[in-house]
């Protein structure tokens, strides 16, 4: 039994004549989906696996499929004869294009066996001549395969050898996805041993010293490990000391380290290769000259063995010296290594003679956090989920670490300037405000903390683009859009479409014992973002500015003062707040709609129906058989009257100088954090405090607590709703008191609305209470609405989480845009 080792991700090229057993071999050792076969591709394009005339098209298909698989990081096996160098060349190019290793497995079985096998297959009419010619080509190819570019070549020289093989997949050196840290990722040290020791101490490591007092290891009581982004050496005063410490930590399992360009160059210098000793290399060589030979050899071997990048923590973290674009994560090729060591260079040099580097991080859109160094920056900052940790210690800046996964930056200042920088420290690489169309358009998948990957449809995104571009407030101010809310399950009670019973039952089933019923205000949803200085924005559910700027300034000023008066800025340590609110009256935003739609319907109905009733009464008086029609028309006239009553409640003017009132019901976030884990009593308490200091502007939200396990408590809740809605209220929202609740099946609905019977007339039409209509309406399906509500909820929370974490605007905007995109999906608008 021979074991062939192949990398977990590679392109396997099978080489063998027709009939050499490639397909059988592939089927034995690889999953069917991993194998792309030329015969199958021929069949796909021509319905005939043996149609040689289709070869060219078939190979285009084959390469397309293989290319897509490699792009996605899937091992791929090419099942084709591949006996000609030209055929192999394009496959090697494919591997190279996707930065994966290529492996050749040659099935060199005797021609006789292959011919015999072909003859046994009725669909193959190859003569022995064809096989013989292929075999000759194969033989001629054998010696040159490595030179052609195959990283590994396995030749199986007999039928027995082919049969006796087993295949072992080995991990790539850069693949440490199963290593979950936690890490302290440390930027370019450049021989600054003292500062490195300072930093390790700040991070909580205990240094281990040898008998000469030299640091040879460092350990963390919590088992944390250091991760070095390379450039340990050169320029600074004690590169050997840094190497000794880091080598010890790596050997002891207390650190991981990737190679920097300075390590790569040091290795070449120590091998006596000709290198220019600029950029501080001479200092290192001079320092190493004072060390004993064994240490220098060990240092050379250590640096030589360093891998150029690591993929860690299930692919969520990538470290590479000069950073790495997403396409290269976990890949292995010369250019991937070059990128990781030197960055995205074009070969040009700038006015300081240093390589011009393309700011790859500006375009980075990957999900993995990339931590790197190489380019000294004044301060470590997030750029599109990447952070450069080289804060120029050797140039008199600081040595910086990032605690991962905590994402906390820890720095120590350089004790002195050891080396004068050639060029001034680079400014931050990108304008985090800039948005790209690719951020939002097309099929998008957004990773959320609370719901994992949320998928957005391309059509929906297109629908949202216009609204977002033309009507929304500036993206930097738009941190959140509220999610849609599902109604309760349809009531089983006669004459009612919605009733609280079903809401209580919904939560009881999901083990949510305590729920809060909150009055649904007869206003418009509005998000208030207010800073302590009274600036900010008030926007609607679709991101439109709610007020003209004058009114907005007044409202925000009063909100800020009220927040100040109740001491909330200090209490939360915040300088801005994001409030979820309802603004009354509805007509503040919807006056045109009330007039054009509801009032018009009301006027028409209350004119037409009584006229019809009068005419019918006359006919009935004459003895015409219209009794049933008359009854129905009179009842509809009554419905019309109730409809008018229902919408009129929304146009009650608010009696203060502004003509509007704000009813806050949730504190979404501040610069200090998000508050979805605080229970709703906390949120409403905040709101009540605001009402107390400015009762004119703020309006309280009436509420009622229910224990879903207790029948009496449920009945109380239902009565509360009954009183609320029979007095003309819109209804209520039932929420888990604890706020964000996760059940065994994921997130629990953050709220369910239970609307009042009369209010629903303006949603479902004046006559919806007619038994036949109601029966039909009861068939409604809330499934899609529920699913949307949860996805939008998760996106909204993710948006504020990202905003609070100081992530770039586009990262926040993606989530906000996602909510709007989802809202453009076609669902029954009456739900």
């Amino acid at each position: 039994m021979t074991t062939l080792s192949i990398p977990e991700l590679c392109l396997v090229v099978l080489i063998g004549t027709s009939g050499s057993g490639k397909s059988t071999f592939a089927a034995t050792h690889f999953a069917p989906t991993e194998v792309v076969s030329s015969d199958e591709c021929r069949a796909i394009v021509s319905d005939d696996a043996n149609d040689q005339g289709a070869t060219s098209d078939a190979f285009e298909v084959l390469e397309f499929i293989a290319g897509k698989r490699l792009e996605r990081g899937r091992l791929t096996v090419i099942d084709a004869t591949n006996v000609q160098a030209s055929a192999r060349r394009s496959l090697l190019a494919l591997a190279k294009e996707h930065d994966v290793l290529s492996v050749a497995i040659v099935l060199d079985v005797p021609t006789g066996v292959a011919v015999e096998r072909n003859e046994a297959r009725p669909d193959r009419d190859f003569g022995a001549r064809v096989v013989k010619r292929q075999h000759d080509q194969l033989r001629r190819s054998l010696r040159g395969l490595k030179r052609e570019g195959f990283r590994t070549v396995h030749v199986l020289e007999s039928v027995e050898a082919v049969a006796a093989v087993s295949i072992e997949r080995t991990r790539l050196f850069n693949d440490r996805r199963d290593d979950h840290g936690p890490f302290d990722v440390i930027g370019d040290v450049h021989g600054c041993r003292v500062e490195l020791e300072d930093l390790l101490q700040r991070l909580g490591y205990a240094t281990v010293r040898d008998e000469q007092g030299r640091a040879v290891d460092a350990t963390h009581p919590d088992g944390r490990r250091a991760a070095f982004v390379g450039d340990l050496v050169d320029r600074g005063p004690d590169s050997p000391g840094v190497l000794r410490l880091v080598m010890g930590m790596v050997a002891g399992g207390h650190a991981v380290c990737v190679s920097g360009n300075h390590e790569a160059k040091l290795v070449r210098a120590l091998r006596r290769r000709s290198v220019t000793t600029s950029h501080g290399l001479q200092e290192t060589l001079d320092q190493l000259a004072l060390e004993d030979e064994a240490f220098v050899v060990a240092a050379r071997e250590f640096c030589d063995a360093l891998v150029a990048h690591y993929v860690l923590d299930d692919g969520r973290l990538v470290i590479a010296h000069a950073g790495l674009k997403e396409k290269y994560h976990g890949r292995a090729s010369g250019r991937v290594r070059s990128f990781a060591l030197y960055g995205d260079t074009s070969g040009e040099t700038d006015e300081f003679g240093l390589p011009v580097r393309y700011p790859w991080a500006d375009d980075y859109r990957g999900a993995a956090t990339v931590l790197y160094g190489h380019t000294p920056v004044p301060e470590a900052e997030w750029v599109n989920n990447t952070m450069c940790l080289d804060t120029g210690c050797v140039f008199g800046g600081s040595l910086t670490a990032l605690r991962y996964p905590e994402r906390e930056v820890v720095s120590v200042a350089a004790r002195q300037t050891y080396y004068e920088p050639v060029r001034p420290l680079a400014p931050p690489e990108r304008d985090p405000q800039v948005l790209a169309l690719d951020d939002v358009l097309g099929h998008r998948v957004i990773d959320t903390e609370h719901m994992g990957r949320v998928s957005l449809r391309e059509d929906d995104a297109a629908g949202a683009l216009e609204v977002m571009s033309r009507f929304a407030v500036a993206p930097a101010e738009l941190l959140y859009l509220p999610p849609t809310m599902s109604p309760v399950d349809t009531s089983s009670r006669e004459g009612l479409l919605e009733h609280p019973d079903e809401a209580f039952e919904h939560y009881a089933k999901r083990s949510v014992d305590r729920v809060i019923c909150e009055e649904k205000h007869m206003g418009s949803r509005a998000v208030v973002r207010v800073r302590a200085d009274g600036t900010g924005v008030v926007h609607s559910r679709t991101g439109r500015a709610f007020f003209d700027t004058t009114t907005q300034d007044i409202v925000l000023g009063r909100v800020a003062r009220a927040v100040d008066a109740v001491g909330l800025w200090d209490e939360l340590g915040a300088s801005w707040l994001l409030l979820d609110t309802e603004i009354l009256p509805w007509t503040a935003k919807a006056e045109a709609m009330v007039r054009r739609q509801y009032a018009r319907v009301g006027a028409a109905a209350t004119t037409a129906l009584p006229s019809a009733a009068t005419v019918l009464e006359a006919a009935a008086a004459r003895g015409a058989d219209v009794g049933e029609l008359l009854d129905r028309t009179q009842s509809r006239a009554e419905n019309a009257r109730r409809f008018v009553d229902a919408y009129r409640r929304y146009v009650q003017p608010v009696d203060n100088d502004l003509g509007v009132q704000v009813a806050p019901f949730q504190v979404l976030a501040s610069d200090k954090g998000t508050y979805e884990l605080r229970d709703h009593s906390w949120h409403l308490d905040m709101a009540d405090r605001l009402v107390q200091v400015d009762p004119d502007l703020f309006r309280t939200t009436r509420r009622h607590l229910v224990d879903t396990r207790d029948e009496a408590s449920r009945a109380d809740g239902a009565r509360w709703w009954d009183v609320l809605t029979s007095a003309g209220g819109e209804g209520m929202v039932v929420k888990p008191l604890d706020n964000l609740v996760r059940g065994p099946k994921g997130l629990v609905q953050p709220g369910l609305k239970v609307r009042g019977r009369e209010y629903l007339r303006i949603i479902y039409g004046a006559d919806y209470t007619d038994p036949t209509t109601l029966e039909r309406l009861k068939q409604r399906n809330v499934g899609q609405k529920r699913s949307m509500a949860l996805r939008e909820y998760a996106l909204g929370l993710e948006a504020v989480r990202r905003a609070v974490a100081g992530e770039p605007v586009w990262r926040v905007h993606q989530c906000v845009f996602g909510v709007l995109a989802m809202e453009s999906e076609p669902v029954d608008p009456r739900l």
Partner: protein
């Protein structure tokens, strides 16, 4: 919705009950019919020696209507569920009349031919029809009706809201029943702008048939055909031609009416932009915010232009542009030169690289002032075309428009309008910031006092950065 038809006793109608013969509906019975969108009932509230009144009551099922709709309405807009359709006389009533009173509409009444041909003293009443009293008079008076159009308040408790766009309509006149019914049959859909069923070729035939004898001479003929055919231009033109032929007039004379629509300023603006662009001898042009593609056609005609890109933030506008430019009929060579992209000025778009000329024609004024810097950074900083042509209204000129004499913008969506000085300031600062040379030009005839109606800023990337 309700229609009552009353006939009074007269010399030609000695027994008003004969109305029942003309309508083919027995005055003693109440009948019901299934019609499109609901149920029609016919009954007689009044039958006596002096007067006979028939009533047509249509009960609409709005949910069924939503379900039955096709085309632009997918049933996902709230307005489709709560609307005045069940109450207000509309095309639905026309359709019901077409079914229930078909013979009467055609003027057929076997055995009573004389009565069918006689002018009766009729009064028709509809409690709620869309429109305003003035429009209703203009539509019905030319045929000899005495029109009473009573306003309906939008909401009694809100007098400041004024009247609903509805009236209670009464028509009194002496004419044949068939004529009266045909007037309603054609004009109800005209009042009802949201026509409920698909407009197809046979609509034209129906209109021609029902309007024969009166529509060709109607002073509001244009409005009637236009609205009846739900704003379908192509169809309308066909209808116009046939109506004109019915009218015994040459076809092209009637089509002249259309030319009045041409707005000189629009053309002047186009010409100014095209002239500026042509001088730049571009290979690649992008019209940012191309709308329905009004300019794209002319850009495609320019010689030496290899590629014309139109971008729009509205997918609907792009569809219209594709239709207008007949993209589906273009040869490959033609369509290769045109690209229509859904894009937004608020977002960097990689597809818009290596552009020679970018056009922002009447676009910037649709951007909120606080979002305009992002747009300029995107266009001048990232896209960096060799030239940028910007046109925008001159706010100073607005006083010359009577409708704007007291302020206001030229379009409700405008977020600002610049004076000449404001445009110059903006253009200069953008030019300095992004390294463009700037020239501001007037568009349209310049008024000595308030300047031209529109102005244009032409930006050219600094000479040092332009490849030779």
């Amino acid at each position: 919705m309700l229609l009552t038809i009353s006939a009074g006793r007269s010399a030609v109608l000695e027994d008003p009950t004969d109305l029942g013969f003309l309508l083919h509906k027995h005055p003693g019975r109440a009948q019901r019919f299934d019609v499109y969108g609901g149920t029609a009932h016919v009954f007689y509230p009044e039958v006596d020696v002096d007067r006979c009144t028939a009533a047509l009551l249509l009960e609409v099922d709005p949910v069924a209507l939503v379900r039955g709709r096709s085309g632009t309405n997918d049933g996902f807009a709230l307005g489709q569920y709560v609307n005045d359709r069940p109450y207000v006389a509309s095309s639905l009533l026309s359709v019901a009349m077409g079914k229930v009173f078909r013979s009467a509409l055609n003027g057929q009444c076997r055995g009573h031919e004389e009565l069918a041909g006689a002018a009766l003293e009729l009064s028709l009443h509809l409690p709620a029809v869309p429109g305003d009293p003035d429009l209703l008079r203009r539509l019905f008076e030319p045929m000899g009706w005495e029109v009473s159009a009573g306003p309906i308040a939008l909401d009694d408790t809100r007098p400041e809201w004024g009247d609903a766009p509805l009236v209670s309509l009464g028509l009194t006149g002496t004419m044949r029943l068939a004529e009266a019914l045909n007037h309603l049959y054609v004009l109800l859909p005209v009042l009802d702008d949201a026509k409920h069923y698909w407009v197809g070729d046979d609509e034209v035939d129906k209109l021609v048939r029902a309007g024969s004898g009166w529509l060709a001479h109607h002073p509001e003929r244009e409005l009637v055909t236009h609205r009846y055919l739900a704003h379908q231009r192509a169809l309308k033109d066909a209808a116009m031609q046939r109506l004109v032929e019915l009218d015994d007039r040459p076809v092209d004379e009637a089509l002249d009416d259309e030319a009045v629509v041409a707005r000189p300023l629009v053309r002047e603006r186009h010409d100014a932009v095209l002239d500026a662009v042509a001088r730049m001898r571009p290979s690649t042009i992008v019209d940012l915010g191309c709308g329905a593609g009004a300019l794209l056609g002319s850009l495609l005609e320019m010689q030496g232009v290899a590629r014309v890109i139109g971008t729009e933030v509205s997918a609907l506008a792009l569809t219209k542009a594709a239709k207008r430019l007949h993209v589906d009929r273009m040869t490959e060579r033609q369509s290769d030169r045109l690209t229509l992209l859904l894009s937004s000025l608020q977002y960097e778009d990689d597809r818009l690289a290596d552009i020679d000329v970018a056009i922002l024609m009447e676009v910037v004024e649709h951007v909120d002032p606080d979002r305009l810097p992002a747009v300029t950074a995107n266009v001048f900083g990232t896209m960096r075309p060799r030239h940028v042509v910007v046109t925008t209204p001159n706010a100073e000129h607005n006083v010359r428009y009577p409708a704007l004499a007291d302020g206001g913008f030229r379009h409700p969506d405008h977020r600002f309008e610049w004076t000449r000085a404001e445009l110059a300031d903006w253009a200069t600062s953008v030019g300095q910031r992004y390294g463009y040379e700037v020239e501001v030009r007037p568009v349209g005839e310049a008024d000595p006092e308030v300047g031209p109606p529109t102005h244009m800023a032409v930006f050219t990337l600094g000479a040092t950065e332009v490849p030779a």
